[in-house]
């Protein structure tokens, strides 16, 4: 465990070196306010988990931050650059890459192609570049990068298989590996351990830690409290669209507001 941040454990607290700053972000669907985050900062080079009961707005917040949805109001900055109203692919180009709750690999592309297609630098990925044809150099560099990432994720033996051949857990790993091809500063993982067997969960946890060790910031949505407790530097709790608490995992687990949000006010009262 890394040293805890020496800051107050309250919603919207200022962090010493925030990579992501969210202000007044609101999104409603009809009458339902899905997200209403007043102020939230994500500290650079940490693992921050976003938790909350079902319907708390975690995935909606992810969509808003990555350009897959646009907020009704509010804005956010990544590394000091304003990102609101920017298309999803531009958010990724600026260094914030996401994965999906329902894993999205490209089934009829090989594992290697799944990686190469996401490469940040490839002149042959434009129509002009493809016609001119001088992309082999970049391709072999990208292939090297892809192979080393795949090796880290234990997918080397699957390189030339179609991604449709991978197991559910391997798909999660491939999706995470692919995100790294973009060389992101912030990686956003939407439930990386959902539906994955316990052995693989351990491996995914290690990979998430690796991301932090190699200098990235990880923001992830997670339901498995053991995972949250074991790897988070900081936990942000969302309920009904609002940030109701934030702090180190040990503190959050004892926070009465959080327990209430998860279990309801009348916990312990027999329902029958």
């Amino acid at each position: 465990m890394r040293p805890e941040l020496d800051i107050a454990h309250e919603p919207g607290v200022a962090k010493p070196d925030p990579v992501l700053l969210i202000d007044g972000m609101r999104r409603s669907f009809g009458g339902l306010v899905a997200v209403d985050v007043g102020h939230l900062e994500i500290q650079r080079n940490t693992i921050t988990s976003l938790i909350g009961p079902n319907g708390a707005g975690k995935t909606t917040l992810f969509n808003l931050l990555t350009g897959f949805d646009s907020p009704d109001a509010g804005h956010y900055t990544l590394d000091g650059r304003l990102l609101v109203g920017i298309a999803a692919h531009r958010v990724a180009q600026r260094g914030m890459v996401r994965t999906f709750q329902l894993t999205k690999v490209l089934p009829r592309l090989t594992v290697l192609d799944n990686m190469l297609v996401a490469a940040k630098t490839q002149p042959g990925a434009t129509f002009r570049g493809a016609i001119l044809g001088r992309w082999q150099g970049a391709e072999s560099q990208n292939r090297e990068q892809a192979m080393s990432i795949l090796e880290r994720f234990g997918l080397t033996s699957m390189v030339n298989e179609y991604a449709s051949r991978l197991s559910g857990g391997q798909r999660k790993l491939l999706e995470m590996a692919r995100a790294l091809m973009v060389m992101p500063t912030v990686v956003m993982l939407d439930e990386p351990t959902a539906g994955v067997n316990p052995v693989l969960i351990q491996s995914i946890v290690e990979h998430v830690k690796d991301l932090r060790e190699s200098g990235m910031t990880v923001l992830f949505v997670e339901h498995d409290m053991d995972v949250v407790q074991s790897i988070s530097d900081w936990v942000v709790v969302l309920a009904e669209g609002r940030v109701i608490a934030e702090g180190p995992p040990g503190v959050i687990a004892r926070n009465p507001l959080v327990i209430e949000a998860y279990l309801g006010k009348h916990r312990g009262v027999d329902v029958a």
């Binding site: 890459v97 009829r108 190469l116 044809g133 992309w135 995100a179």
Partner: protein, 330 residues
């Protein structure tokens, strides 16, 4: 019963202008549907624009070569105009708008309002004389052996047509084997995933629509040059669906699949046509139950059954491995 005649009809159609033209158009559709996953149900519109662009330019007094350029440029513009408002929509909405756009175009060139320019229902004739003047083969001479013969006029169209098919195939192959083509396949597999790693999905889809459209316009132009005649009835929606059958038959998303699909389809189609006509004329009991016109319709049934069997037992098409699966499965 002369089986050589049946075979000859199939073979001549397979190597003839009809297959070259359909193959060209199918190559364009394969780029859009087989690789980019675009459900373009208005593909025939690109052929229409190519053919009318060429014919109308000549009608207005321009040279034929300029007409060909106008036809191709018009198809690229059609791709742009059709794509900008619709490619951001979900795939099924794009499919609906594309077929509607194609029908609108056909009805416009067919309307009496446009008749002074487009010739209305009768279309435009006799604009391709310059093309046939370039023919190095004596137009009325027969080439081939036995019943497998074509005229010099047709041979000229065959040569030009298949050269275009070869160029288009190599061009698409170069694109598909590049990282650009890989992004296109990624979009077919999952648009949101492709967005998430920083690719501008909309721009790629627009490019695929425009390039595929330009290739299809060459098919329209080839048919127009061959027949020296165009009319709106030749650009009905069923052409688009025949093209889909060819692309899926050959293997959507395989480089040579579109060409093979067009060849196999046309072989079956024309051989069955001749077979039924022969049977109707020569076999008494068939002649007794079918009129010549009815016998002509049987080919659609038989082709349909053959295609159903293919789709059921080999949904990935002739040229794709089973691993890659059918064109639409994720």
């Amino acid at each position: 019963m002369d089986w050589t005649q049946v075979l000859a009809a199939g073979v001549i159609a397979t190597i003839g202008p009809v297959t070259a033209g359909y193959a060209l158009s199918a190559i364009g559709l394969n780029l859009q549907f087989g690789y980019a996953g675009l459900l373009n149900f208005g593909h025939v519109a690109f052929m229409l624009v190519g053919a009318y662009g060429t014919a109308m330019t000549v009608e207005f007094g321009g040279p034929l070569w300029l007409g060909v350029i106008v036809g191709v440029v018009a198809a690229v513009l059609l791709g742009l105009l059709l794509g900008i408002p619709t490619l951001r929509l979900r795939a099924d909405y794009f499919a609906i708008t594309s077929i509607a756009a194609a029908e609108v175009l056909r009805l416009v060139v067919r309307s009496s309002w446009a008749e002074p320019q487009t010739g209305g229902v009768f279309g435009i004739q006799g604009f391709a004389t310059d093309f046939h003047r370039l023919n190095p083969f004596p137009a009325t001479e027969l080439y081939g052996i036995g019943q497998f013969v074509v005229t010099g006029r047709t041979l000229w169209v065959i040569v030009v047509g298949w050269i275009l098919v070869l160029i288009a195939t190599l061009f698409v192959a170069r694109l598909i084997r590049s990282p650009w083509g890989r992004v296109l396949k990624a979009i077919r597999e999952d648009e949101d995933a492709t967005r998430s790693f920083g690719k501008n999905v909309f721009a790629y889809k627009l490019q695929a629509l425009m390039i595929g459209g330009a290739i299809a316009s060459l098919a329209g132009i080839l048919f127009a040059l061959e027949q020296q005649s165009i009319y709106p009835g030749a650009f009905e929606p069923r052409i688009t669906f025949i093209l889909y059958v060819m692309v899926i038959l050959g293997g959507a998303g395989s480089i040579w699949g579109a060409v093979l699909g067009a060849a196999v389809f046309n072989f079956l189609f024309y051989a069955t046509d001749t077979l039924m006509a022969r049977l109707q004329a020569n076999v008494d009991w068939i002649g007794a139950i079918l009129s010549p016109a009815e016998a002509g319709l049987i080919k659609y049934f038989l082709v349909g059954i053959a295609l159903m069997l293919l789709i059921v037992y080999r949904p990935q098409g002739l040229l794709r491995s089973r691993d890659e699966g059918p064109a639409d499965a994720a």
